[in-house]
Amino acid sequence: MPFISRTARQSDYSHFPSTCPIVIDNGGSYFRIGWAGETDPRLVFRNIVQRPRHKTTGETVSIVGDQDPTLLRYFDCTRSGPRSAFDSNVVYQFEIMEYILDFGFDRMGVDGSQSLYFILGQLPMQEKRVISVGSLFLKQVDHPVLITECVCNPIQSRSKMAELLFESYGVPSIAFGVDAAFSYKYNQQCGVCGEDGLAICSGFATSHAIPHSYIYGFPELLSLSTFFSLFDCSRFTWEKVEDLKMEHCYIAPDYASEVRLFQKGTKEAEEKTRCWQLPWVPPPTEEPRSEEEIARKAAIKERQGQRLREMAEAKRSSRINELENQLQGLEFLLQQLAYVQESDVPSFLAETGYVSKQEIESTLAKVTQSLRKAKGEQVESEAKADPSATEKFPLVNIPDEMLTLEQLKEKRKQLFLKTTTEGRQRAKQKRFEEEMERERLNQQDEEKRLENPELYLEQLQAKYKELSEKVEQRKRLKTNGGPTNGNHNVSGGVGRGERLNAAQKERMRLLTTAAFDRGKGEDTFGARDEDWHLYKLMSKDNDDDDEGPDEDEAELARVTSRLQVDYSFLYIKHMLLHLLNSLITSSLPMWDILLNLNSSLWQDIDPKFVPKSEPGPWQSSTEVPRSRPMTKEDFQILLEVERFRCPEILFQPNLIGIDQAGLDEMVGVSLRRLPSKAEGLEDRLTSNIFLTGGSCLYPGMSERLEAGIRMIRPCGSPIKIVKAFDPIFDAWRGAAAYANSLLFPQQTFTRMDYYEKGEDWLRKVKLIISEAYYALLKENRLFSFPMLSSLYGCCVLQLKF
């Protein structure tokens, strides 16, 4: 992988004189820091900060860049994810920036006091005297800093950066520069590109075309990540997506024709389809066990069973023994008791602990019974486990006349008991039947689904709609009290009536009218039998729910449950199934989700994954089906159109709803905006189109860009596209080389200036800054003309995502 963090602590800070600038490439994705004049940055880390809570101590800590995910398990990262200081390509959160700078300087080995002694050694005598004792322990980063920023960085952002560096770190002087310019400069020195050129910097968040075309590249990543966010899984790691991007994405020479290849399913497309194999551990292979092994296993099982049986047997026999002893003792006691005189019984029994002869006898009976039970004989009570109804309720069938009063009472009781048991049995039977019915329906559905999944789904949906409407309507009817009451409700608004259903309302009406009736004239209530029906109507359990809705609701529930499963099947199958599954993070919980998805959804729900020959019983989606063992293929993600669909947005931002010109068009616009119509200038520029930034690493980028630009430029104009030697690190290298030049100290702003003129100075002297800034760029001679000066103003273009 091209991006590797380097965060080892540097130890040679004190070896650098305080005049040696520290060079920072503050990119949207990576932060690179190192010493001027060196070829590689000392530290490279992702430009993000996490502020998780330590799980045991609960304190909030700051973690900069990527860290070992295994160590992150000690922290609770659920509250806050990784945060960036950038809004598109502008630094706007300086608290986060400060953490990042802290980390960068700390790892560079900056140590205030050490360097101070070093400075003291370097300083001439008279200046040494000026430094007071208090400032001996001056806390500062005592090196000039060169930091990159985006083209046309808003002054606010730049002044805040200056404030931060001057006030918090005590940096003596600062210079700002544009990364693309540095990269161009570096490559120009290497002979990759000429003096005049057009730099296309496709970075993390925006892309720029310079003389001007800027498109920093985050877009495809953004879109990829949006694809991922489709699946509610925010826990993928950037690295994984980035790896995916770096490994598989490419830019199609022509999107339309490329996509047609895939649509037709040509062989070429098949070749271009990439499989992304998720880490997959083959399940323990279940080879048919050898006879020997089976026998051995059986023997072990048998032996264990035997031992258990023996233990149980021993326990039983010991109990029997015990009981027999007790029995003998009691019998002996009784025999003895027979010889003892009546009057002596209490004193005789006092020793044994029994009070009377009856007690001994009852104990004896108990012991005999338990002995019999222990010996496995049938105990009487068990005999009446399942008596027929006639035995259980002997009195039910006998006419009343033949029974005494006592028996009559008993009979009534038995009658009651009998009806309840019968009712219970009936309910049980009914439940069982319902269960069977549901099972059968599900089975049928399953068969239908396997036969023709699309048709089945349609039918299911139609049914769902119908049922839900039906249920909904009934509910409405119930609450509104039917169409007759409807208009009353409309006018009535939200009273108590609104909350009652029709039956309850009727009851309320009856109650009130009954109360009023009482007062008028002669009270004839109760004269007729029908009058009493009123009470029946008034009684509370009158809200009869007919059987209809219940059935419908049950059916609806069933259909819904099936539909849900089928949606998830769709979800997986059509919402970029492969991408979803590429959401692997190294974290374990994610793996569980993935495994669940793979096993339950792919196999169980997608009919294509279930071999038709063995339609296993329908299983709930949480169960792992056993119908087919998982294979390596189930853990593969097919990347087809997505391979070039995502990067395509660099050229057609319209695809993700951004109404801006793509990279190739931007080059045209940028050239058109050039105020200078010098002879051959445009040709000179187009013959030196320079690509830098992480996004230009896509295969096919140069070709596509060339094709695009050729369409815009007049026929026969020279077009040559060159890629930076190292699109990722060249900006830093260029900056480091620049900071090492003798001219550099003249291009910086000093802390003295800053303190003298105040914080607002940067804003007030905007022109000076920009002049210095442009001078810096001029110095770079990035483009033979100062592309950023007012002269070339609007030829700078930026595509933001």
């Binding site: 000690y74 706007y92 700390d106 046309c152 919402m575 997505e642 993700i656 709803g657 609007c794 273009l797």
Partner: protein
């Protein structure tokens, strides 16, 4: 804190000798502080770019202009060219099969697809 965490030095120390103002001095703990930063949009507004000379480049006017080319329409689901458009869901689709799918999608997923190209209904 665990020994391995210490060894890896992954946690940024709260006190750094080279700093003039420490983080905890700048952002004291327990004190509710308002948002101390501006969004890019606010920053740009505050920059007062209208007062700049028209030919001077600044962050806003270097933005890439709208494309002059007609927008290619691609199927929201498959990425193929999309000749059709479903007025009910507002999704673009490539063929009848995809149409079946989008008609069966719950509205939540439809919105997610739309969000991919900034066309989702956003309730504020």
């Amino acid at each position: 804190m665990e020994a391995e965490v210490f060894e890896s030095e992954m946690v940024l120390p709260t006190y750094l000798r080279f700093k003039r103002i420490q983080m905890y001095e700048k952002y004291p703990k327990g004190q509710s502080r308002g948002r101390h930063w501006k969004h890019l949009k606010q920053i740009l507004q505050a920059e007062n770019y209208q007062s700049y000379p028209p030919n001077e480049p600044h962050y806003v006017n270097i933005e890439s202009p709208p494309s002059m080319l007609p927008c290619k329409k691609i199927c929201d689901i498959t990425g193929y060219e999309a000749p059709y458009f479903d007025p009910r869901t507002n999704l673009r689709y490539a063929n009848a099969e995809v149409f079946k799918i989008i008609r069966s999608l719950p509205s939540e997923y439809v919105q997610r697809y739309l969000a991919l190209r900034n066309a989702a209904v956003v309730l504020k």
